[in-house]
Symmetry: C2
Subunit: 221 residues, 2 copies
């Protein structure tokens, strides 16, 4: 049965700033779904490696797609690859009256687990479609689907979401009472990620599927 919250475990329980941490499943899903890239950490010869990857979430599975390196993929294809996948969205720059209380507003998900190579072709096809649809909803039915050769050339990793936590900060700066009267501005600069006007490929012949671009940039959904 799916519970509203992920179960906290020692490695998802922070030693500091506990008030910023949560396990709400829907909130975790929302952060994973909003982000374009995640950062995947794994261990090679005892040393950490962190690489950016594209991802898509399907239920409580996170799928990873990108060049992970031959050695990591060999491990993932055998016993599985222990990974830590982290996704961070920056929501604002927090300016306080003191240097010390400067911060950022953000939402960050950290997921620990063992990633495995997706071998099943049906699952792999569905994931590749979901990856394309994560960019533009419905896009996967408006492109040529993968050939058998392309499917074979693509490696997708599956990470079951279990040991997961969400850390977030929002709202105004928290200045010390003694600093409130200082003659310095304080507040938040909101940070937004937007997509701009589509740039057609040089050889494209069909019209853009988007309406006439607006005069200003539009906010990404």
């Amino acid at each position: 049965m799916t519970t509203p919250e992920f179960e906290p475990v020692p490695r998802t329980t922070p030693t500091r700033s506990r008030e910023r941490v949560g396990y709400d499943r829907a909130a975790v899903h929302a952060v994973l779904d909003e982000a374009t890239v995640c950062h995947v950490g794994f261990v090679v010869d005892g040393e950490p490696v962190v690489l950016p990857q594209l991802h898509v979430r399907v239920g409580d599975r996170l799928y990873l797609h990108g060049s992970t390196g031959a050695r990591a993929l060999r491990m993932a294809g055998g016993p599985g690859l222990p990974v830590c996948v982290t996704v961070t969205l920056v929501d604002g720059l927090v300016l306080a009256r003191s240097a010390f209380h400067h911060s950022i507003n953000y939402r960050s998900v950290v997921a620990h687990g063992v990633a495995s190579v997706v071998e099943d072709e049906t699952e792999k096809s569905a994931v590749l479609a979901a990856l394309v649809d994560a960019v533009i909803p419905g896009r996967s039915s408006q492109v040529r689907g993968p050939s058998a050769r392309e499917l074979a050339a693509t490696t997708v990793l599956r990470l079951p979401l279990g040991d997961v936590s969400l850390k977030a900060r929002s709202g105004p700066p928290h200045d010390d009472p003694d600093d409130l009267a200082l003659p310095y501005w304080a507040g938040v600069l909101p940070v937004t990620t937007t997509t701009g006007r589509p740039v057609p490929a040089p050889d494209v012949t069909v019209p853009s599927p988007w309406p006439q671009p607006p005069a200003t940039e539009q906010t990404a959904s």
Copy 2:
């Protein structure tokens, strides 16, 4: 002597997509300077951990600031903490005529090394000022500086930049020749990160240091 390029070493030489990798020092610096957060990977009990951190670059040193966890900080204070720090900027969503050639335009820096706790108070003060100035140039002289107690409560890690590489993709999709005539739009959706209108703290009494906000959101510099 500083060379125009970082020296490639085995762990900064990829096994795939070599054409996307470079070592240009100025380009690496630019990516690190543009990004607000980095993702820091380290190893705890043989398992990978990846956490978002604020960072600032000073010359060929990358300084990290954030809650790294008590155990990692103990290691960093002693022999040093082996880390992999990765910074990724997403520049565009690349839509091809085939699902297989969908991609993103991005710039990503991966830096390997050993991070150490900054013990010197002069260096630590300079880094904290640089962290604030990285948000808004000149801001550190327009706030209350850190007290001795605040300095003591702050941990900053220093990572010398040496084993560093930059991976990037730009430009239009690369469709297969056989797909060029397909009736599907192809191109790039540019992705931009912008800062919006400043939101004053509820109790702020001085005017915003920014000019009258424009009618539309402004692009971050």
